[in-house]
Amino acid sequence: MKMKMTRLDEALESRFALTCREDGTFRVLCVSDFHAPREERWDARLKWALEALIRENDPDLVYIAGDLTDEADSMGSPERLREYLADIMAYCEENQIPWAHIPGNHDREVRLPPEIFAEFPHCVSKRGEASLPGYGTYLLPVYKKGEENKGPVFCIWGFDTHTGMGDYAKMLELAEPSDLYYLPTGFDRYAGPAFAQCRWYWEVSLAMEERFGRKTPGIMILHAPLPEHGLIPANPTQTGMKGTFGEFTGCASINTGLFAAACERGEIKEIVSGHDHYNNFSGNHMGITLSQDASLGHDGYGDDAIRGGRLLVFQHGTVSSRHVAVKDCCLVGQEEMI
């Protein structure tokens, strides 16, 4: 008789097991905001910039935190998406470096079908639980080599932050303007993970603690920042802010409680977001580092001074992280292009 798969079992499923190095470290290079255009060829500098960051930072996983494309229909055909991914992820595929992605507000599932990503042998992206709003809310567990049966030692939680408040309003069955959902709260009209996604995290995390008898340290990655990201530049001294605050934090209008969930579970070390191309700040609030990486692509707006990503290194139960800029990389034979 086939056993019913639990929510935890489903969350722990992986294409192949991600494992720490011999010294117990696991390095995640988080990049975002490529914004491949609708019709023209994507800017070739994206591929070289990504390759430069990978060479320089030697990650065990490359994680694309959304906005692979500029518009929902940018990748007008499966062939074009295949060609795009084959081009920009060639270095990962050739060097057997696992990579994953979550959608950004410019990406939608219909144009970025998971089955095309699945054609790439080193892509470990998951669609996520069917019952959750959107797609691309999933867990990537990382294990100690040879001890996969003892449960993950490090968790990478990815969340779909949808396209904007319009998406969220549809879910709430609200009609503008009589049932207001967007207010000038000082934030932008972007959406965050829905409460149902936050609850998914909470329940999987609790179930994991119950099964393995311990909390598992982790990070969260989203495209649009949480409202709490806005606390960092508003309180630079108190949060020990580092990095550049180049534009307003375009976070969700509605706060669905993901930060509170992370605080109360007490295992999340950092929450990374993309979205705001001119920001690469980080700061600590209530024991959790809140950070934004700057854009990597050249097809959207951006700033060469900070263009890059964020390197997160897991070791001994903690996570250290820093901004990594393309300009600081050793660009073998690519200086002129970059």
Binding site: L183, G257, A260, C263, H285, M286
Partner: protein, 313 residues
């Protein structure tokens, strides 16, 4: 004791008199009696800051004997939520306080497992669940939350979101508990889901957003200053919004504030503290219209200052 809608002139209605913030107990008891006579509610809800920091069981029992007497004398059932001042510096824990409250025969509150209590009100025939009253604990100040999260002092920032006060609030764990129970009810009862009204003492941050956008939220009533909402957002507003069936969230805490604002399809209702400049309490009347629920909210005063209707607009 079973709560049920009552039929009046061919219409089913259920009314709740909401009171909180008993700064002057003796005066408050007199006001309470007057309000109960005027409003004749089906339920009296003590929305926190009822007995400030009782030192012992005896102290709490004595205070409750006096405060619940007006309801007991009139045979009106009552329920409670804790406010920050009930708990702060109290000599007994919230579990023990809850047990003492529930010793009173007319107290209809449950044990509030995991900080969430739900009262089901049936239709006038008594056959079917017609309304759910969700009563949640919003705890004390942010220090308690920091302790739960193992992060002392780090929540205190120069500029928190939406407020400048450092209050605890409904926590994410309670939000999940609420959502789970809604899920169980939905599985048992099917659709459409039974409508609900949610009560907790300290406002969630969305009250502040509503006040900051008074025109857009069609805010009606009196706002005296910055909303003393919870510092960390535990997601209760979004969870309720995503469930679709919570029609209003009703809070206390800020003494004279007394308003109703509409946001994401829900009414955010702030009730006045007993004896405040705005009034003494709020009468919520819930009227069944087919499968829909209409809400009226009326500020009640006990000293002849008159009534003030906030809902319907």
């Amino acid at each position: 004791m079973k709560l049920r809608f009552r039929e009046e002139n061919g219409q089913e209605r259920f009314s709740v008199l909401v009171v909180h913030g008993f700064a002057d107990e003796k005066n408050a008891c007199l006001r309470l009696g007057a309000m109960l006579d005027e409003a004749e509610p089906d339920l009296l809800l003590f929305l926190g800051d009822t007995v400030r920091a009782p030192g012992t069981d005896r102290e709490l029992r004595d205070a409750l004997d006096r405060l619940t007497a007006p309801a007991s004398e009139r045979g009106i059932p009552f329920a409670f939520c804790f406010g920050d001042r009930d708990l702060r510096s109290a000599g007994i824990g919230s579990g023990e306080m809850s047990r003492i409250w529930r010793e009173y025969p007319l107290c209809v509150s449950g044990s509030g497992e995991n900080g969430v209590d739900v009262l089901t009100v049936s239709d006038a025939a008594g056959d079917t669940a017609a309304l759910r009253l969700w009563c949640l604990d919003s705890h004390e100040e942010i220090g308690g939350y920091e302790a739960v999260c193992g992060s002392p002092t780090k929540a205190r920032l120069a500029k928190p979101l939406y407020t400048k006060y450092y209050m605890d609030g409904v926590r994410f764990s309670q939000t999940v508990e609420y959502d789970r129970r809604e899920e169980v009810f939905a599985a048992q009862e099917g659709t459409p889901a039974v409508p609900g009204v949610m009560f907790f003492h300290t406002p969630c941050p969305e009250f502040s957003i509503a006040v900051m956008n008074a025109v857009q939220t069609m805010l009606r009533g009196n706002v005296e200053g910055i909303v003393r909402c919870s510092t960390v957002n535990g997601g209760i507003f979004s969870a309720a919004a995503e469930r679709h069936n919570v029609k209003a969230i009703v809070c206390g805490h800020d003494g004279g504030d007394c308003y109703a604002a509409r946001y994401c399809g829900m009414e955010l209702v702030k009730t006045p503290a007993v004896g405040s400049t705005s009034g003494d309490g709020m009468l919520l009347t819930l009227m069944k219209r087919d499968s829909a629920l209409e809400i009226s909210a009326k500020v009640i005063t006990s000293d002849g200052r008159g009534e003030h209707c906030l809902l319907p607009r």
